[in-house]
């Protein structure tokens, strides 16, 4: 579960004191936290992202190779979790069970 997925940085912004950014993972987009690469990345760069946190910058070639390798290995579970969150949302739950 610790492999992380490389993606391309689409945008960077301030999220209440934390550097946040939109990352494109082979077509799936998701906001992630860049606090641990603050000052080291720009839009258009590639980063390895694990559970919503960018942990290292990589070059484009390495990002592509790694993404393909993960795909071959079916080690892209994190993308499924992203989709699940996108589907169910993080808003208020409707009712409180009795």
């Amino acid at each position: 579960m610790c492999l992380g997925i490389p993606g391309r940085i689409v945008s960077l912004s301030d999220g209440g004191g934390l550097l946040m950014g939109m990352v494109d993972f082979g077509g799936v987009r998701r906001e992630v936290c860049f606090a641990y690469l603050d000052g080291q990345v720009e839009v258009g760069d590639y980063a390895v992202v694990h559970v919503g946190f960018a942990i290292s910058r990589v070059d484009e070639e390495e990002a592509r190779r790694t993404y393909e390798a993960l795909k071959e290995m079916s080690e892209l579970d994190e993308l499924d979790w992203m989709r699940e969150v996108a589907e169910t949302g993080l808003g208020p739950l409707k009712e409180r069970p009795a």
């Binding site: 579960m1 610790c2 492999l3 992380g4 934390l18 998701r30 992630v32 936290c33 606090a35 641990y36 690469l37 603050d38 390895v48 694990h50 559970v51 919503g52 946190f53 942990i55 290292s56 990589v58 390495e62 190779r65 790694t66 390798a69 290995m73 079916s74 080690e75 579970d77 994190e78 499924d80 979790w81 992203m82 699940e84 969150v85 169910t88 993080l90 808003g91 208020p92 739950l93 409180r96 069970p97 009795a98």
Partner: protein, 377 residues
């Protein structure tokens, strides 16, 4: 060697395999401690390719698999409480507890939510102030910075209804536990690349020195692994025991310093139980005192929940390299990925599931298991 043709660069793979075989003057025993590497090694048949030269033992490299039964039972207890929204990474949902798993709790009406980032769980807590949101904080050093940040932010933003059930483990103490066990056979380690992306590799220096064991930081792709193994063989053949870095594409000497810094502000080292292995001193992370309000174990008084691991599961022997997964009597029969008895059968990175999924290993006859058990004694 049919699997070699599937490599990105089959020619290079062949050359590396040939070199490893040529340069090994005797059979060497190595251990990888990374679920991603285990997956690749089993899937690509690297063990068979190197048979006679290098034996790979699949160590406790999957955080999902080593999360102790007790912590799973605590998670199940919390997830069953009506006021709790229990949040977790997706790969924990099918890990068997004593009675059931998180997925079953969800089916029975428990509020169990898969999150991608621990910050998702925090967001959920902010949006549901009348509910208790608990996040299952598991993982190795690679995941700790993310989980540390969620706790840090919760305190900063005063999100009182957010807490974490922590089951973090760290890799080097597990390596020490393996090296110190009386029947240890491991002569060299491949260290986990992505763990070192965060941590760097200097913490392995005293380990290599004290136990005179070569440690090669290695990536998870097939060619990475073959290269890492060759580097380790060369050290063994020349009597060196150093820390070397095969995975320079991702790992620097110092690692990610801001991440290490926040982890050490939020967490401190604690003794931690490893499923199948038992207690390893100072091998886990627990919340520091200033974050006690976000500690689910204290908030919900969970100390009373303890568990004994089922004796039929031989995960401990598998993770210590005493037996191969298919030498466990339950392998492929009572225990399958659909109905796992033990955690290493749950995750695709667990040694048992990796063996099962790549099907090249028949379940042994009972005598073979006995022979293996006798060998382990």
């Amino acid at each position: 060697m049919k699997y070699l043709d599937e490599y990105r660069d089959p020619q290079l793979a062949r050359t590396l395999v040939a070199r490893i075989k040529e340069e090994s003057s005797r059979p060497w025993v190595m251990m990888e401690v990374c679920g991603g590497q285990t997956h690749t090694i089993v899937r690509q048949g690297i063990g068979e390719a190197l048979s006679g030269s290098v034996e790979m033992i699949h160590g406790p490299g999957c955080p999902v698999c080593v999360t102790p039964l007790e912590q799973i039972d605590r998670a199940l207890h919390l997830a069953s409480r009506p006021e709790v929204i229990f949040t977790s990474f997706g790969d924990m949902l099918r890990v068997p507890g004593s009675e059931c798993d998180l997925q079953q709790i969800r089916a029975r009406g428990g509020e169990v939510r898969v999150v991608y980032s621990p910050l998702d769980a925090l967001e959920l807590a902010r949006n549901n102030p009348d509910r208790e949101v608990v996040f299952f904080a598991v993982g190795f050093e690679t995941t700790a910075p993310a989980n540390a940040m969620a706790v840090w932010r919760a305190r900063e933003l005063g999100v009182e209804n957010f807490s974490v059930l922590v089951s973090h483990v760290t890799v080097p103490p597990a390596m020490v536990a393996i090296l110190e066990s009386p029947d240890n056979r491991v002569q060299a380690f491949l260290a986990a690349g992505h763990v070192c992306t965060v941590m760097g590799w200097t913490e392995y220096l005293p380990l290599a020195e004290r136990y005179r064991v070569p440690i090669v930081v290695t990536g998870f792709e097939p060619l990475d692994i073959l290269e890492g193994i060759l580097m380790a063989v060369r050290q063994l053949e020349s009597g060196r025991y150093e820390v070397e870095n095969q995975y320079v594409r991702s790992v620097t000497r110092q690692g990610n310093l801001p991440a290490q810094d926040l982890v050490s502000r939020v967490f401190h080292l604690v003794d931690r139980q490893w499923r199948g292995i038992g207690m390893i001193p100072s091998s886990g992370l627990g919340l520091r005192e200033p974050f006690a309000a976000h500690d689910a174990e204290r908030k919900f008084a969970l100390e009373g929940i303890t568990a004994d691991e089922p004796s039929v599961c031989r995960a401990g022997d598998v993770l210590r390299g005493r037996i191969k997964p298919n030498e466990c009597g339950a392998f492929g029969k009572a225990c399958t990925p659909e109905r796992p008895l033990g955690a290493p059968m749950v995750s695709s990175e667990g040694a048992c599931a990796a063996y099962y999924n790549f099907k090249r290993f028949p379940a042994p006859d009972p005598r073979a298991a006995d022979v293996a058990a006798a060998r382990a004694l």
